[in-house]
Symmetry: C2
């Protein structure tokens, strides 16, 4: 497994691969790899000859310095996990490599960055869009694999790629969960005891909404009421948002749900070390089997 | 000569060229080709095996609808000129191709977009940065050639390429001029008679500054006074700006000039048809032979 530290070198490797007709897949990560990331790596392997994993904790997408400082860093374990999964190439740039002196170029995906996590985390998606574009430019992949847990990020990356005309296929992979249903997240290491137990309220809220819809409920506000009720059963959880939106445009859902609808949640729970909160997100597309009216 | 209308098709051609080891050069234009553009094409030819000329009047970089509507369009002549110059490929996308429904991704080069033309034309450089990035993504060139007449644009494109890590070489080519010194511009067709004659004041102002510096003048304000005096001799010309700035960062020049310094001018003259004004720009790097202190 090669560890590459510069964009130029990564591009040279990509050019050589492409000249030999080898397909390249990129899995962009911020490290602290867990089974969710490894599922992305396995999917990348199925779709390409060369799997590139990037590991870069991107300062530009952290709206809070404390969150950036607290973000878990487990580089040795990450490299071992990549090696164990047969990854060909790890891209490990430092901050100066991706944001050189005088750096001033920013990419905005204007509408998709506004709601949900964009409303809670100003500047977050500008940082995400910019670094994802830079990683795609650096790795020159044929395909890039992202988790659906960060649903808004995935929607934004799809739009970014379409708008800029980047010739890469974007693949979204289903969220990987703990056996009790908690969505895997690098931030879960900050949870323990009762807070860890109550973190399950997000998954339970998704289930509550799914059950309501399965029982025939189509009123947006009634579905959201079921969601809030599930969250309220976890008194340690502070709900940031619970919203129903169009899965592609993220426009607010209508009062009566008639098409596939994204249920997106964010909630904060107390950290095990007492130093503030952990912010968790989760989501599910309700009515996913419904064909959109007027669309194929 | 092939005329390609979609990004996908242009990328497929580029991939085929690159697989055969052929170097690609891009000359981005808005059409209305003149001898300045053809000099860019000739430079591209010297540096590559395949020359791609893009022709796209980019709505996103026009801050005024009237300017967009009035921008000259001479497609048949442009295609004939490209053919005559041995261009292999013309990229001719329509607006929907580059800005599809729901388009919302914008690239900002924050600091370089602020002064000079950025101050007069809000949003202009956001449109430039975005379309240039899209054209580079579409054509996948090894080298792209731009005119130095649009000096700020060239500085911004260099920064964009460095910041995003795009692996393309950016070449800037000296401004081509009419025999009397007027910088070639597609907008010159709107000038006639006395306004055309007085448009020379920009080139004369550059000469006045060059003479002052050659005579030993190093005081910024004295150089600018010589510039304004030259413009004032053309009563039809309305000066937009005359500024001395760092050629790379575009930071304001110090009170005493000690290093290569950009003199940038913009002035408006009455249109031949009486419908408003034509905005012209010109520039020169003064003290160009001086080595910057502390730099190679």
């Amino acid at each position: 497994m090669d560890v590459v530290e510069t964009t130029r070198e990564l591009q040279a490797r990509a050019d050589a691969d492409r000249a030999r007709g080898r397909r390249i897949a990129l899995v962009p990560t911020m490290g602290a790899l867990h089974a969710g990331h490894l599922a992305l790596v396995d999917e990348a392997r199925r779709r390409a000859d060369v799997v590139v994993v990037s590991i870069f904790v991107n300062p530009a997408q952290f709206d809070a310095r404390a969150d950036l400082a607290a973000y878990p860093r487990t580089l040795d374990a990450d490299l071992a996990a990549c090696r164990g999964r047969g990854v060909e190439r790890v891209f490990l740039p430092d901050e100066r490599e991706l944001y050189p002196e005088g750096y001033q170029t920013w990419i905005e995906v204007a509408e998709l960055a506004k709601p949900l996590c964009g409303a809670s985390r100003p500047g977050h998606f500008r940082g995400v869009a910019t670094v994802v574009a830079k990683l795609l430019v650096a790795a020159k992949p044929h395909v890039a694999v992202f988790g659906q847990k960060d649903f808004q990020q995935l929607a934004l990356v799809r739009r970014l790629v379409r708008d800029l005309g980047l010739d890469v296929e974007i693949v979204g992979l289903a969220t990987v969960r703990e056996s009790d249903g908690l969505a895997l997240s690098s931030r879960n290491v900050h949870l323990a005891g009762e807070a860890r137990r109550q973190a399950l309220c997000l998954a339970r809220a998704l289930d509550a909404a799914t059950s309501a819809v399965a029982a025939g409920e189509r009123r947006r506000d009634a579905v959201l009421a079921a969601v809030r009720e599930a969250i309220a059963k976890a008194p340690l959880a502070r709900l940031d948002y619970a919203e129903l939106r169009d899965p592609e445009t993220l426009a607010p859902a209508p009062a009566l749900l008639t098409a596939p609808t994204l249920l997106a949640l964010a909630a904060c729970l107390p950290r095990r070390d007492g130093q503030g909160e952990v912010r968790l997100i989760d989501n599910r597309v309700l009515l996913a089997q419904h064909v959109r009216e007027g669309r194929s």
